[in-house]
């Protein structure tokens, strides 16, 4: 519905101060934009007044948003990638299909080495485990990583790196061709009472499918085996902290998420 009036250049100049401050109503905003799109005059006065208006953004006192906002944003952004709403997701899907056969033959080992390097970096970065005497925690995590790596080496497996809001949670999830899923995650807050972490698989526009629940002790490490519907590249794997086990839809906050990809593609 765009039956707003056609504006003259003078009318646009007249509306300029309210246009650049956002104080026109929707119809007037459209009328100005329509005029600008078809006008030979660059209407530099708009940019000049607009520059003064954007300086006002600086006058705002910064405020810390709730911590729950970031996981929500990141999960929505990851879902964009998975569901093709992000411009880069279509291009990425293309490359996968073109290179799949060749890459599967040649570069699975190369990718695994690269993945191992990433995991080593994760293991070293931020936590000086040996000095902190947390060898048990490290060992549990490594065992989980070894199992997941073994599964990732199987043809048809897909892998998602799981990350959180602030980098406090990291790990990865491998889904085998038959849906067997290995998770190795650390940095999780310990569960209390009936709380569980639930892993979800989200494919395209479908509702999240719960693929497994697990609890986490004081070491913050989760090494778990779950069962996903299948191994589809581009699915989102998300971890939520649920108030209780067995929920059919996520009730709690997303604590980490990642998009599965075919290792052979990258």
């Amino acid at each position: 519905m765009t039956d707003h009036p056609n504006l003259t250049c003078d009318e646009v100049r007249d509306l300029a101060p309210l246009f650049v401050t956002g104080a026109l109503d929707a119809g007037e905003m459209h009328a100005v934009r329509d005029h600008l799109a078809g006008c030979a005059d660059a209407h530099a006065e708009l940019a000049e007044l607009g520059e003064a208006a954007t300086a006002l953004l600086e006058t705002t006192e910064p405020a810390e948003p709730p911590a729950t906002l970031k996981p929500r944003l990141m999960a929505a952004a990851a879902a964009d990638l998975a569901e093709g709403r992000h411009p880069a997701s279509a291009a990425a899907a293309n490359i996968v299909s073109l290179d799949k056969a060749r890459a599967r033959r040649g570069s699975r080992l190369g990718w695994l080495l690269a993945a191992a390097a990433v995991i080593a970096a994760v293991a070293l970065g931020g936590w000086n485990i040996a000095l902190r005497g947390q060898l048990d925690t490290a060992q549990a995590y490594r065992t989980g990583v070894d199992q997941a790596l073994a599964l990732a080496a199987q043809p048809g497996s897909v892998t998602a790196f799981l990350t959180a809001e602030d980098g406090s949670v990291s790990g990865f999830s491998v889904v085998g061709q038959d849906g067997t899923t290995k998770l190795a995650v650390r940095g999780l807050a310990p569960t209390t009472g009936a709380q569980v972490y639930t892993a979800w698989s989200i494919e395209g526009d479908n509702a999240p499918v719960a693929i497994g629940d697990f609890t986490v002790g004081p070491d913050g490490v989760a090494v778990a085996t779950a069962q996903a519907p299948d191994a589809t590249p581009g699915a989102v794997i998300a971890l939520t902290l649920e108030p209780n086990a067995g929920n059919q839809a996520p009730m709690g906050p997303v604590v980490a998420s990642g998009v599965t990809r075919d290792p052979a593609a990258g």
Binding site: A23, G27, A53, L56, E58, M74, Q134
Partner: protein
């Protein structure tokens, strides 16, 4: 808190790490960690702006999420010559916050002479302007705003922060529409001059 979650050795700060432009290229390429970093950099400004306009914490959260998702999906539409990434991003927040305030309000408050559309047009990317000059800080802008005559400052604040349309501002101030326009224009022209951007060449408006 788990024992395994020790304090990180370093916290990324502004002076180091990728530039805003590099992060935005990461957004365009679909890299979540770039979005993460850009969010960390501007979340407090974004939330502050959204809360100031909406005066509603929950709505402000939605606005910030929508704005960052807008930047995520539309990063390839950023034009480097037309202002910094920061201004671009915060302008999206401003734009979406005003839109959210208008959507929240009953449609009966729409001006009577409008063509009766009850729902706002789909969200577009904002019309983004550059900066008067790079690196202006809050104190400078506040000082410049404080030099404005009260009537101009009031009109400017209502136009930029209240989410009101021009007719609503006119009602609020009890002055004709033309007076609202001229006060906001004069305020912007003075602000630009105070901030050292030099004389306006084009913004004189119709006689």
């Amino acid at each position: 808190m788990s024992d395994a979650r020790l304090e990180p050795a370093t916290v990324p700060e502004l002076p180091t790490g990728p530039t805003d432009e590099q992060l935005l290229a990461g957004l365009a390429a679909g890299r979540l960690e770039a979005l993460d970093a850009l969010y960390e950099r501007y979340k407090t400004m974004a939330y502050g702006i959204a809360r100031r306009i909406t005066a509603d914490d929950a709505l402000a959260e939605d606005v910030v999420q929508e704005a960052f998702l807008g930047a995520w999906r539309g990063a390839d539409r950023y034009v480097p010559g037309r202002g910094s990434v920061k201004t671009w991003l915060l302008s999206i927040v401003h734009h979406r916050a005003i839109d959210a305030v208008r959507r929240r309000r009953p449609t009966t408050e729409l001006p009577a002479e409008e063509d009766g559309k009850a729902t706002p047009a789909p969200l577009t990317m904002p019309d983004v302007w550059g900066e008067v000059s790079a690196g202006i800080d809050r104190e400078q802008v506040n000082a410049a705003v404080s030099t404005l005559p009260d009537a101009q400052r009031e009109a400017l604040e209502l136009a930029y922060w209240a989410g009101l349309s021009q007719t609503e501002i006119a009602d609020r101030l009890g002055v004709p529409l033309g007076t609202v326009k001229s006060r906001v224009r004069l305020a912007l022209v003075a602000l630009r001059r105070e901030l050292g951007a030099g004389p306006l060449e084009h913004a004189e408006g119709p006689p």
